[in-house]
Subunit: 221 residues, 2 copies
């Protein structure tokens, strides 16, 4: 296998480095973040940095760059203190990707990409109608990462909207059956094929396969 040092990589063009380094973390989640400002103007932007932080309280975080195309997302969240996260599926991944284009403030990514706003009672931030697993969050904290001038936005989940039949008895949501996509690098989108669910790991026994509902697999993995 090839050993590449960061010094060797630094000789490459910026775009090469961006593709390369973005590939190293492995598969990333693909999510559209829906926001609205105090004037009622909505915004929609794709993020591959949405990350689970903890279940109690139910916290999700994502990284933003203040001067990037996602700056309107952050401005809106600061104003309204709420937003939505919408899982991207095969049916609209090209439209989701198109939201990363640099649209002017007065342009609306929903209209520009053909995605549809939807709302629930008591919440101002727009959902993406096309998404089959989505949730609303209230802003908890914005943490600046001085190391590279990014910001980490932490939200607490308040409402989840999901197809009921994909929620299994033990609480696992079968996102594969929703054709949820993942991202690798900057621009590659992927469907998934489940290898197996695995039992809770214990030092006293080997890992075992479990079925989609969380029950032991008869035949092993």
């Amino acid at each position: 296998m090839k050993h590449i040092t960061i010094q060797q990589l630094s000789m490459k063009p910026d775009r090469y480095k961006a593709h390369f380094i973005n590939s190293l973390s492995g598969f990333k989640s693909a999510n559209l973040i829906g926001t609205i400002n105090d004037q009622g103007q909505t915004n929609l932007a794709i993020f591959s940095s949405v990350i689970h932080m903890g279940a109690s309280p139910a916290l999700v975080g994502f990284i933003t760059r203040p001067h990037s195309v996602s700056r309107h997302t952050l401005e809106n969240i600061k104003q309204v203190k709420q937003y939505t996260i919408n899982q991207v599926s095969e049916a609209f991944y090209t439209q989701a990707h198109q939201t990363s284009a640099r649209y002017l403030r007065e342009h609306n990514e929903f209209k520009e990409t053909g995605l549809t706003e939807s709302y629930i009672e008591g919440l101002r931030a727009p959902f993406v109608q096309q998404s089959q697993l989505k949730y609303a969050l209230k802003l908890r904290e914005i943490i600046p990462f001085s190391v590279n001038d990014t910001q980490f936005v932490i939200g607490e989940i308040t409402d989840v909207i999901c197809e009921e039949q994909v929620i299994k008895n033990d609480g696992y949501i079968d996102v594969e059956s929703l054709n949820t996509v993942s991202v690798s690098g900057l621009d590659s989108y992927h469907l998934s094929t489940r290898l197996s669910r695995l039992s809770y790991a214990k030092s006293s026994s080997a890992t075992l396969g479990i079925d989609i509902h969380g029950n032991p697999l008869e035949g092993g993995i």
Copy 2:
């Protein structure tokens, strides 16, 4: 679609909530973090929270819980200031999952799971020999997230080890061809099938498909 409020969810058992909330962020990366302490004892632990932070400098972050089974990882990183991140592939995902068992300090996850330590000149932290895409990092910063008592560990990439043929001309690394797995929820592992790479999004034109090397696709997506 079903609307579930966080109040409704709070009535469910902790394990149900953990499965449910862990499923919401979508597909996560599966990585083994390799560390060593000042006494030369190695540790290996699986994380689904490794996240790309930026390409220049090349930064990667992950979330730890101080009192979880991953506490040895954090202790070792604080001591030695370096660690490795190793992408998990189909060939050893059950062994990777088994590293999440609560082993005693004096037990070694490499030996317990049958994974193999490997080293490069000038670096103390162990790599996973079985991983076909792995990299070493030096610790940059540990940021406490007071909101749920977790910590965010930021490292700068110093060395990358990878099969050369999976690095494309534009820097994109074809992690799918390495059978790199993704995780959903707490315990579900998945292979991937590429839908397409997509062109850099511009407000003036529609998203187009590009091939694995980053060149325009003749026939569209």
